[in-house]
């Protein structure tokens, strides 16, 4: 239909007026199509598919049977390991998320206007672009569970402890150390966004505010900088949520899978276990849907909180 409309219009009008909408629209659709098709196949479609599969007992071998909300019932009523994973993920996300977010904001704020900013930024940002798997080698050196470990060595030498702490085997230390590693690795994207956002803040506003009687830099931050940076704060928050709820490889490469007493078991670890080790796709999809709903609701909440 769109093609007919172009053909129906005399060529002179094209040069006099703007390009007819129909031609423009056709190009738009053609240009948008490659992204949109892949986006539907691998992101939008799968969310819907996950919801459908989660209502069945699909296991790759037998034909899927509709089981209603049975998977969800099992998940929340009978699966104690899932409850541990849920608790761990929440503890993890609620500590590592805000801590990484705040640290990267404070760092961006402090760096704004300092000299050698790019150099400091590189040293601060670089950890977040390293591979969690590769860096586990380093963390295992720092937190090695024997006397060879840098931290154990230091603690023993300074007389704080007498025998080495089993950092990656002791259920009480696995999660805290993983959180520390995650914070170290997660200060990236948010930091860049905040740095760019701070550069955008109109500097005249600070002068105006100084005349109006704002004194400290903290007042400046609260009354001028933060409100102006809402869009960047939101972008940072959304990235942080997706990152901290999806934690998996850091813990696996630091403490193995499954972790002792499931101390470092997360929702994604549970999902991986059921989907790609036990091949219970229906049940695993229910886990995926729970993860989806959780992150989506929290993301929506932040969109509401930081709306313009």
């Amino acid at each position: 239909m769109a093609a007919n409309q172009i053909a129906g219009k005399p060529p002179i009008r094209r040069s006099l007026r703007r390009i007819p909408m129909s031609s423009n629209r056709k190009t738009a659709i053609i240009f948008f199509a490659p992204f949109f098709i892949l986006f539907c196949i691998f992101i939008v479609g799968p969310v819907v598919q996950s919801i459908i599969i989660s209502l069945t007992n699909y296991d790759l071998i037998q034909e899927a049977k509709f089981v209603g909300l049975n998977n969800y019932k099992l998940l929340f009523m009978d699966d104690e390991i899932f409850m541990i994973a849920l608790k761990n993920t929440l503890v993890f996300a609620c500590i590592a998320g805000p801590a990484g977010y705040l640290a990267s904001f404070i760092m961006a704020w402090v760096l704004d206007g300092l000299k050698f900013r790019t150099l400091f930024a590189l040293a601060f940002y670089a950890p977040s672009i390293t591979s969690g798997v590769a860096m586990s080698v380093v963390w295992l050196y720092f937190f090695s569970p024997d006397r060879y470990g840098l931290i154990n060595n230091f603690l023993i030498n300074s007389g704080i402890i007498s025998s080495p702490i089993l950092w990656n085997q002791d259920p009480t230390t696995i999660l805290p150390v993983s959180i520390l590693i995650q914070i170290w690795m997660s200060m990236g994207t948010g930091f860049l966004v905040f740095m760019a956002g701070l550069k955008n803040v109109q500097k005249e506003l600070y002068e105006a505010a100084a005349i109006d009687g704002l004194k400290s830099r903290f007042q400046e931050l609260y009354y001028i900088t933060l409100p102006q940076m809402k869009p960047q704060l939101l972008f940072g928050a959304i990235n942080t949520i997706a990152g901290s709820f999806g934690v998996f490889d850091i813990i696996v490469s630091f403490a193995g899978m499954p972790t002792p007493n499931y101390a470092g078991h997360t929702i994604v670890a549970h999902l991986y276990d059921y989907a790609f080790i036990k091949f219970e796709m229906g049940y695993a999809s229910a886990i995926a849907v729970v993860l989806f709903v959780m992150t989506f609701v929290i993301g929506r909440f932040f969109m509401w909180l930081l709306r313009d």
């Binding site: 629209r25 240009f31 949109f36 992101i43 799968p46 050196y141 860049l192 994604v268 992150t295």
Partner: protein
């Protein structure tokens, strides 16, 4: 007060308690006021802390075996050597796949994915911001919504799709699902909005077709944005662990994260050197790419807010 001090020499650093720090490189002079010295100290300490594990990766890669295994452990290298890299080439693990193969697999997957995601996102972003794309606000909300959940949510249906297409255990399984990424599209779209309409109008009046406009005006204009996508997409694909873990079964097609994990699990002491070298080779490409592109990335991020 400062006029009395002669710091015309090259690269001189003067630390004055009252006037602050003056650093001079040739003609350039940098002065840090004494009030701010404490701020710099704070930042320096923090940055030392965050950069320490990375510095450790670099120094460890050049440690000879006896230094790697020394007790008590030492942080820095004393007698640097490149032997570990030689050991790494020889360390083939349980099967007969040389390390170089994993490295090239990773490079191939990351480069192809980055190339495709840049093109596809740029085309889509242009269509959404500057052309008359129907339902654009609804589509944009959908894309923002897709940024909110971790990618593992869609892993099961994606596995079934990739399996259905017969792509399991091929490198395409690692590439195709990673092309249309909401985060990449979002950055590209926000940056594309800065493109002046007048420029496009002028080109259209001159009779340029849309594909020509895209090639000669839009794509060059988006340079900072695609430079950023090169960084983000390369980093996430280079480091991707979950994807190859799920899709790749044959040793010859594995990428670096899996290879490193299997070297680590081998756990033999003789491998410590190879492991240190592997970690170095796994870590450095992302850091180098980011360093080269840093300025453009920050330029792009200035437009990244969600309004």
């Amino acid at each position: 007060m400062r006029d009395g001090i002669d710091y015309r020499q090259k690269g001189i650093i003067l630390i004055m308690v009252k006037t602050g720090i003056h650093i001079r490189f040739g003609r350039k002079q940098i002065t840090i006021s004494s009030k701010r010295v404490w701020l710099y100290m704070f930042v320096l300490i923090l940055v030392t802390f965050t950069a320490m594990p990375l510095v450790y990766v670099v120094v460890t890669a050049f440690k000879p075996l006896d230094e790697l295994l020394r007790f008590p452990p030492r942080f820095f290298v004393e007698r640097p050597t490149t032997r570990n890299f030689g050991d790494l080439v020889l360390a083939v693990g349980s099967s007969s796949v040389p390390f170089l193969r994993y490295f090239l697999n990773s490079v191939y997957v990351a480069v192809v994915t980055v190339f495709l995601t840049v093109i596809v996102s740029a085309l889509g972003a242009y269509a959404m911001t500057k052309l008359d794309l129907p339902f654009r606000s609804a589509l944009f909300s959908l894309i923002i919504a897709a940024m909110m959940f971790p990618s593992q949510v869609t892993q099961i249906p994606n596995y079934l799709t990739v399996n259905g297409l017969g792509l399991v255990n091929t490198t395409w399984a690692l590439i195709i699902p990673k092309i249309a990424v909401a985060f990449n599209f979002f950055l590209m779209k926000q940056f594309c909005e800065q493109l002046p309409n007048a420029l496009l109008e002028a080109a259209r009046i001159d009779g340029a077709g849309e594909s020509r406009i895209f090639r000669s005006i839009v794509f060059p204009f988006l340079k900072p944005a695609w430079a950023s996508l090169i960084v983000f997409s390369f980093v996430s694909n280079w480091n991707d662990y979950f994807g190859p873990l799920v899709y790749i079964t044959s040793q010859a097609k594995k990428t670096l994260p899996l290879a490193i994990q299997s070297i680590a699990e081998g756990g033999s002491i003789a491998r410590a050197g190879a492991m240190a070298a592997a970690t170095f080779l796994m870590t450095m490409p992302t850091v180098i790419i980011y360093t080269v592109m840093q300025r453009r990335v920050i330029e792009t991020m200035a437009h990244s807010g969600i309004k």
